[in-house]
């Protein structure tokens, strides 16, 4: 049996009998979805629009995996390929090691929470949730108890008999979630499910989603273009741009160790410094910055960066010091922006490049620096990260 049942022997998802080639999965057997070199071209294969370009990713079981990227970068397209609404022009998608190319959406143990929710307007909340279960042919008693459980899970019991246009946007979102979770799919795909909600509800739903994922043990593939949402919720993030996955990693890796300029720029604020790099180890470079200092910078593959290179330094990975003391970089303070928890110091380095330092605020008087003053910057150890352009 291809997909094990998780509801006491009831079909949790359609059976997928047939020929399956068990692929040699070298990454271990805890991979839920393997996207292997997938390309999607809309229109003619040679002249059409390349929405995805040789995308590869391994999404682990019970992982909260986020696709993060700007509008139009292909996030929805990748989800639709996994759900089965579109077919890859090239490449393969494996679910639990089995190629699902031949399976239509209604045979894939994958459910989607659509960006528009797509609730059935002619059915009640409860009937929406039971729809998938009825289609799977579950017995009525099992359906009833599952619907009860799902309604409780998303706290919608009092509204079970309402039509879907008689509930609020946030409630609709919860129903959409319950409807997709009810059949207990192997993988849940969520396409910007929180984007229509106001700030407060959004925060609540973020916590709710994490709780649901923990309780159900289902693999979540979550799409967003909100970097903060991605950082706070994900186990791993794939940053996408123009149909490609640029970097996959934990929120910490993505934030602290971006490998590409786009990633560093898209997530949080970053200073970019140019310099001349020499290989100083396997993953270590010695970079003589144009702005003066020589710093150690890390990179996944140091050899790649020898010669001209760009390094990224997060504003909070540097300290502002008086201009007359020892410093890595020096320049003029141009602006001071107070943010409550911290203060941003905008300066122009001696070679004319802008640089921002973020300093935690402490109780007491101000920072002691004033605009126009000559100041210095000390970089933290490990602050510099070499980037691919």
């Amino acid at each position: 049996m291809a997909f094990p049942d998780r509801f006491d022997g009831l079909p949790a998802a359609p059976r997928c009998e047939g020929v399956y080639k068990v692929t040699g999965d070298t990454r271990g057997n805890n991979v839920a979805i393997d996207v292997l070199g997938v390309t999607k071209v809309f229109g003619a294969a040679d002249s059409g629009f390349r929405a995805l370009d040789k995308v590869s990713a391994s999404i682990r079981q019970n992982e909260f995996f986020t696709l993060l990227g700007p509008s139009g970068c292909g996030k929805t397209t990748l989800l639709r390929l996994i759900a089965g609404f579109e077919f890859p022009t090239e490449g393969r998608i494996l679910l639990d090691g089995e190629d699902i190319a031949a399976l239509p959406p209604f045979r894939r143990p994958v459910n989607t929470v659509f960006q528009s929710y797509a609730l059935f307007p002619h059915l009640t909340v409860a009937k929406n949730i039971s729809f998938g279960l009825e289609m799977l042919g579950w017995p009525a008693t099992k359906i009833a108890s599952t619907v009860e459980r799902m309604l409780a899970l998303v706290k919608m019991e009092p509204m079970a008999d309402r039509l879907t246009d008689q509930i609020s946007g946030g409630q609709q979102q919860r129903v959409a979630l319950a409807r997709a979770l009810a059949p207990n799919p192997r993988v849940l795909l969520l396409d910007e499910p929180l984007s229509a909600l106001d700030f407060k509800l959004r925060k609540e739903m973020q916590i709710e989603l994490k709780r649901l994922q923990g309780e159900t043990g289902i693999t979540f593939v979550f799409v967003t273009h909100d970097q903060e949402e991605a950082l706070t919720m994900s186990d791993r993030i794939a940053v996408m741009s123009a149909g490609r996955i640029l970097q996959v990693g934990s929120p910490r890796e993505i934030y602290d160790r971006p490998t590409e300029r786009f990633v560093a720029d898209f997530i949080g604020e970053t200073n970019f410094l140019e310099g001349e790099a020499k290989v100083a180890g396997d993953r270590l470079l010695e970079v003589r910055l144009d702005a003066g200092a020589t710093v150690k910078a890390t990179a996944p593959d140091a050899a790649l960066h020898a010669g001209r290179t760009t390094v990224a330094v997060r504003p909070e990975h540097a300290d502002l010091v008086p201009g007359d003391g020892p410093a890595d970089l020096t320049g003029v303070l141009k602006n001071i922006v107070y943010f409550g928890t911290d203060t941003h110091f905008h300066m122009t380095l001696d070679n004319g490049v802008p640089f921002i330092v973020r300093q935690q605020n402490t109780p007491g008087e101000g920072s002691g620096f004033s605009i126009g003053e000559q100041v210095g910057v000390r970089l933290h150890a490990d602050a510099a990260q070499a980037l691919k352009d």
Binding site: G84, F85, P105, F106, S116, A118, T124, K127, G132, M135
Partner: protein, 308 residues
């Protein structure tokens, strides 16, 4: 005056003005719809004139009696008007089948159009409406050209050796059915398309995603959501089918009469205007009752869908 009296006076004035403003519309509605109805009703209870028309101020219920009963020509016994009843039954039967056929043909057509890109949709809708540009009589004769013994179908089929003798289609119920289906198909397609165009096809995807195969998506999602179009289309096809005149006349010939022809006959060669008027009113009542029952039934079915 007390404040509330002032208010009431103002409301009275407003009501008055509303009535005056809508008076022209009301007059037209009364004259145009109730006027002819009243004339029909009056004619149905007058005695028939010797050479058509009615004798004014001579009341008689013969017209109504003749709808359902007739004197046997030979014995003079009073019996059911079998001919009328069989024509009535044939009309209802052919109209139901026509409605079903146009639905079966129109549904995929409307679905096809609704799933085209927006630009091309308009072209398809335009194509569907083209037959309306031609007079019904001419379209019906064109149909005759297709199905008659020396017509397109028979000629081609014989050339291809599929048949050796022409198939007699003209002057059968089949011919009437073909003709009516052809003529009324656009009336089914257009309301169906209107409701399908409003259908959110993301719902179809959502249903696919939730393990519904194509057939179940059709039954559980598309049909319920396009029900208003199905009802509207069925009404638009069924009612004119029931009273159809030209198509059964041309394609069905003299012996395959439908109600429309029976009524026409009474006002023409039959010289029995009261009977014609009575049958017309009967037809109208039947249609209204059928509509009521249908709408009630579908409304209840819709209510069931919403329950748990």
């Amino acid at each position: 005056m007390q404040p509330h009296e002032v208010e009431q006076a103002a409301i009275r004035r407003g009501t008055m003005r509303r009535w005056l403003l809508s008076a022209p519309a009301l007059v037209i509605i009364f004259l145009a719809s109730f006027g002819p109805l009243f004339v029909m009703l009056a004619f149905s209870v007058l005695e028939k004139g010797d050479y058509g028309g009615v004798k004014p101020w001579t009341f008689s219920f013969d017209g109504w009696a003749n709808v359902f009963f007739q004197h046997d020509i030979f014995t003079g016994e009073l019996g059911f008007a079998d001919a009328h009843l069989s024509i009535f039954w044939r009309s209802v039967r052919l109209s139901i089948i026509t409605t079903a056929l146009t639905l079966v043909l129109g549904f995929p057509t409307a679905y096809f159009i609704a799933t085209r890109p927006r630009k091309t949709r308009e072209i398809w809708v335009f194509l569907v409406t083209i037959p309306f540009w031609t007079n019904l009589l001419i379209r019906t004769f064109a149909m005759q050209e297709v199905i008659r013994n020396e017509g397109v179908i028979n000629t081609v089929a014989m050339r291809l050796g599929m048949i050796s003798e022409p198939i007699q289609i003209m002057y059968t119920d089949w011919a009437v059915l073909f003709g009516m289906t052809y003529v009324y198909l656009p009336l089914m397609v257009l309301p169906l398309y209107a409701s399908m165009e409003k259908l959110d096809f993301r719902l179809v995807e959502a249903a696919y995603d939730l393990y519904a195969n194509r057939f179940k998506v059709l039954r559980r999602i598309i049909l319920p959501l396009t029900k208003p179009g199905i009802i509207a289309g069925s009404i638009l096809v069924f009612i004119p089918s029931l009273g159809a005149y030209v198509t059964p006349r041309v394609l069905g010939g003299g012996k395959n009469m439908m109600l429309g022809n029976l009524i026409g006959l009474q006002f023409g060669k039959g010289n029995n205007w009261p009977l014609g008027a009575a049958i017309s009113i009967t037809l109208m009542v039947v249609v209204m009752v059928a509509l009521l029952v249908y709408v009630r039934a579908t409304a209840r079915a819709g209510g069931d869908d919403r329950g748990r």
